[in-house]
Symmetry: C2
Subunit: 460 residues, 2 copies
């Protein structure tokens, strides 16, 4: 008779529906004649107002309920006289499942983001983090839907990898060797005794393996965790983050840019359409102007500009930059933002960068000095997507690796993929947390990851 539904469904129910809702009390206000409970179960931003009267046998118990208590409520949906809500729940039974008390860390008041990070196990129960992680989930599911609808194969590339493991660099080492007495041979670690019989670490990208699959399935994507052992404490760096990397066979840089634009606009459109309440909260409380900014990107055609022209634009800019501007140098954040915000006034792909500042696998252009790379720049953050057409010509790839000092021995399989049935192919990478920051206005990457990993932080 009382059908159990989620708060989201209860709020959309017609009057007189009998239902049961279970969740946590966000606030409890009690008078002599009536008690109001704001009940939230995480299914949506809003809470359901539960109205309980003194005729309920446990009215006293209800009035003593602490913030954060878990309860189950049966009752009927009635029109609400209160502002901001169409309906409320007239309680016929309130069952206390798990009480709470004054020691609960999330009493009704403002907490700093810094404090909430120290209670990352409880912060999803707040308005802000409820909204963040609903959007995170919804976006992740939208990403899978986008690629599924476009016929892309989802590939799980490996997390533990033997690539790049000789130079330490930004790689986390993965090992089962006893760290207090590692086996040494001639003073060097004997990795032949390690679990994998070689040095291994955590992947920084699934691209190279993704390319192998694109050369069998045409269109593929990865969506998984990647790692950087970079000791930088900024608001934009985490040691563990999720990345999306599509790769298309028989595709060039123009195809790549087309996919990136369609994908990015799809995700903007998705949060506008499907995460409306959460986005309205961010727009009101976190980042005024968010919705308008996202809408503009969703509706705009992305521009494209050669790197060489970008340098010219920067040189004649009426402002002075902190970092030098010269053909051959990489663009800094200040340059990127100037280009997208002041020159183009919208999203822009910068394409064809000098080969010296880009990765070895990018395809050499006919001018012999640039490669078919692209960065998508968007207002407010600068670069958000980086991609390229890959070098599919074996001789040129080998030459470029030699030039860049990359040992081909460990990458024999990558070279093999250019040996038989090679073809033009292209792809890009999008950091999922950067995307989330962009679409929610949250300013610290620690606040869009459930349990962030940063230097000296691996709690929970």
């Amino acid at each position: 008779m009382y059908k159990r539904v989620r708060v989201k469904q209860a709020l959309a129910s017609g009057p007189e529906t009998a239902l049961e809702v279970r969740g946590w009390a966000r606030t409890v206000r009690c008078g002599k004649e009536v008690a109001f409970i704001a009940l939230n179960d995480g299914s949506c931003f809003g809470s359901l107002q539960v109205v309980a009267g003194p005729s309920l046998a446990n009215f006293d118990e209800i009035c003593r309920l602490g913030t954060g208590s878990a309860i189950a409520v049966r009752g009927r949906v009635v029109p609400s006289p209160a502002a901001g809500q169409a309906v409320e729940l007239a309680a016929e039974e309130v069952r206390v499942i798990g009480p709470s008390d004054d020691s609960y860390p999330l009493q009704k008041k403002r907490h700093t983001m810094e404090y909430l990070r120290t209670i990352a196990h409880l912060r999803p129960r707040t308005n802000t983090f409820g909204a963040v992680f609903r959007v995170r989930s919804s976006l992740a599911q939208a990403i899978h839907r986008f690629f599924s609808e476009h016929g892309f194969l989802y590939v799980h590339t490996p997390i533990i990898t033997g690539n790049d493991c000789e130079g330490a660099g930004e790689l986390f080492r993965v090992t089962t060797l006893p760290l207090d007495k590692p086996p040494l041979v001639g003073g060097r670690v004997d990795y032949s005794a390690d679990f994998f019989g070689q040095a291994t670490g955590l992947t920084v990208s699934g691209q190279l393996e993704g390319e192998l699959y694109a050369l069998a399935f045409s269109d593929i994507y990865t969506f998984g965790p990647t790692f950087r052992a970079e000791n930088s404490n900024t608001s934009r760096h985490a040691a563990e983050f999720w990345m999306i990397e599509p790769e298309m066979a028989f595709a060039d840089l123009q195809d790549d840019a087309r996919l990136a634009e369609e994908f990015f606009r799809y995700l903007c459109r998705h949060v506008l359409d499907e995460c409306h309440d959460d986005l309205a909260f961010f727009n009101d409380h976190i980042d005024k102007g968010l919705i308008e900014r996202v809408r503009q990107v969703a509706d705009s055609s992305f521009a494209m500009m050669e790197y060489t022209e970008a340098i010219e634009q920067l040189k004649k800019a009426p402002i002075s930059f902190s970092f030098p501007v010269e053909w051959g140098l990489d663009l800094q954040s200040e340059h990127e933002r100037y280009l997208t915000e002041q020159v183009v006034k919208g999203p822009v792909f910068i394409v064809n960068y000098p080969k010296e500042i880009k990765a070895f696998y990018m395809r050499r252009n006919n001018d012999n000095r640039t490669v078919a790379a692209m960065d998508l720049l968007v207002p407010k953050v600068g670069e958000i997507i980086g991609g390229s057409q890959r070098e599919e010509r074996l001789d040129l790839l080998e030459a470029r690796m030699a030039e860049a000092g990359i040992d081909p021995t460990g990458l024999w399989w990558y070279l093999d993929s250019r040996r038989w049935g090679s073809c033009p192919h292209a792809g890009f990478g999008l950091g999922f947390e950067r995307l989330l920051m962009y679409l929610t206005g949250m300013e610290n990457i620690r606040d869009v990851i459930p349990f962030p990993r940063t230097p000296r932080h691996a709690e929970f």
Copy 2:
């Protein structure tokens, strides 16, 4: 005029459609008057038969094409006189993009699974592995769809974790310490100098963190990589694999079993409906009877049996087991298979196990000697899903941890979740590769993971 489509769409096109297809030649057969190319682009199991005549300017080049060559073909769809295909493509232009030759390791012949593992970068281009990884992708997307449709929040629980990192156990260590000269304090490794300022490893499960999110969003799931540094070389163990772990607040063991049954049957139904050609291949070439077995599970109601009754059934079994059967001992694979194959003759949940053989977080039953655990057993493999209702009572949880010798210090946040607004909750775990083996008939876990990680193997 020639619209580029994938092979899958070409095979479903009506006669006279003008189109372009790009892919790889699986076989090339050439006569004086005509050349036949089986063209595959990974979009589906089948290849498109391309028919090229000597009127094409490069007919000689076409005839010399090696297996595995990348080509682009323009032409018109025509009804095919050949058996097993409705249409073929009458080529008007065949462009060779990336040639292949006799050194290509995948010449038309049978290769052993063992050999194909040594060329994991090329094996997705074979029939078998094309089918495996299409099903893998399709199932992964179906899993997200299932939970999305059921209102479950997708949570990315951390990969790098400080939990369980004191005892070495089956954990991979993650570190940036120099292994050749680790910092020692009193002969022990000084982890305070490590990247995270503590000992860290790769997660074995996201469940504990998942519970925290269920207590904020009601229904959540994780789907991500998990790790075991177990030195076992069996066909069912990998060091890195993907796991699905849903968790529901306000749910008991019965709710948990209901979800597991609905989920598992949904996935069986999905491969039958959506992966038909790939499944037909497995049924014909890998595991005769596969489709019938999957169909039976998809259509059956799952039984439920108490552990205590299971022991009685095993004791009176007319066969002798290798492992002892006694109340208090865990069930072995031979026992599980007997129960599901001989006693129940279908899927069965075994529930309420002795607490001593189950994990500390499982909920104590009123009999004081069992916990609300469940294992789903299915014919042919035995256990495929393991789950439980979690102990939500703080005092009982603490007592059980003390009993099991688990230090509560590092799990303060887990205990906290029982302190305020605690509620009954339950969940389960499903190993994605085990599921895939079950639904494809593939017998080695190394053959359902793109680049498997096992002892002494981390290639590619």
